[in-house]
């Protein structure tokens, strides 16, 4: 007797088979002695266990019990529906947070712009001037007029060098 046949015998004992299957299994049990012995044991076990099986009963009626379950489901759904409604402070905070971030970045950009550009001009680099004569025949004299915001480079031929040095610049070229 194989495993399937044993299961069919158990199902027959528990009354779970259809009428046709029950007749077939009954005939099988009658024909085989080991099957009959198994059926006898199964019936004895069933007779022993069934009266002692633990049964849990809900103290409330069926309608009252399920109405409570339904009420709890509905209350949970209503809480879920009301939660997305945002309060004004929350909405305001949601708008202000990114704006404050952008304002901070803008502030830092302006500060860094003034730090790296403005004061650097005022402090020293503004007055840094490099002059270079690229011709051997030409000399130069440079002059800055603060009042007129002007940087002047006076060029002269080298053969005028002695003359230029002999005469003060104020008399020869500049006011």
């Amino acid at each position: 007797m194989n495993w399937e046949q044993q299961l069919e015998l158990q199902a027959w004992v528990d009354g779970e088979l259809s009428a046709g299957d029950a007749r077939r299994v009954s005939a099988f049990a009658d024909a085989h002695a080991d099957a009959r012995a198994l059926v006898t044991e199964l019936r004895m076990a069933k007779a022993f266990i069934a009266p002692n099986e633990f049964e849990v009963k809900v103290p409330d009626t069926r309608e009252f019990y399920w109405s409570q379950v339904q009420r709890r489901i509905e209350s949970a759904e209503s809480v879920r529906e009301t939660s997305p409604a945002l309060s004004w402070p929350f909405v305001w905070r949601r708008l202000v947070s990114p704006l404050s971030g952008v304002a901070l970045v803008a502030f830092l950009a302006v500060v860094s712009f003034n730090t790296f550009r403005g004061p650097a001009i005022e402090d020293g680099s503004r007055h840094m001037v490099e002059v270079e004569n690229l011709s051997d025949d030409v000399g130069s004299i440079s002059y800055r007029s603060q009042s007129e915001n002007m940087f002047v480079v006076y060029l002269y031929k080298k053969d005028q060098d002695n003359e230029a040095q002999a005469e003060p610049m104020d008399d020869s070229f500049f006011q």
Partner: protein
Amino acid sequence: MSHSLFSRRTARCLLALLLLTGSTVESFAANLRLEAKLIWGTNDEKSPDPAHKEVDAATKEKLRNVFKWKNYFAVNRVTKPVPSRGSNHFKLSDECTIEIKELEGPTVEVKLIGKGKEVHKTTLTISKGQSVVYSGDDKNQSAWFVVITELGEK
């Protein structure tokens, strides 16, 4: 929910930072707009060349406060942009050309080219309204001037 909100905020801040950085870089890399004028200075009342026109009153006053000549006549005027980290040539006459190169920071390199030869180079910080003036003696107690002025960023 808070995680997605944080992600959106972060994305917005990064976008704003990106835009701001782009605009800041743009402002640093803006082109210069420069004007170069060739001017003739004399004590005569009129220029022998009728094409020469007297410079505007402000320029005349400015030059008079520094130089000894009474009258100043505009020979030529060229206004051009100088691209960031680039250069441009200002041809003021057949013999006189100015090459201006924009360097890092608000610094420019001004090169005077006479008769095709590089004569002089000045590297300095230039700001709006400031002038760089090249000058030299000319015939009959007169003088020539090349006045370079920054007109602002383009």
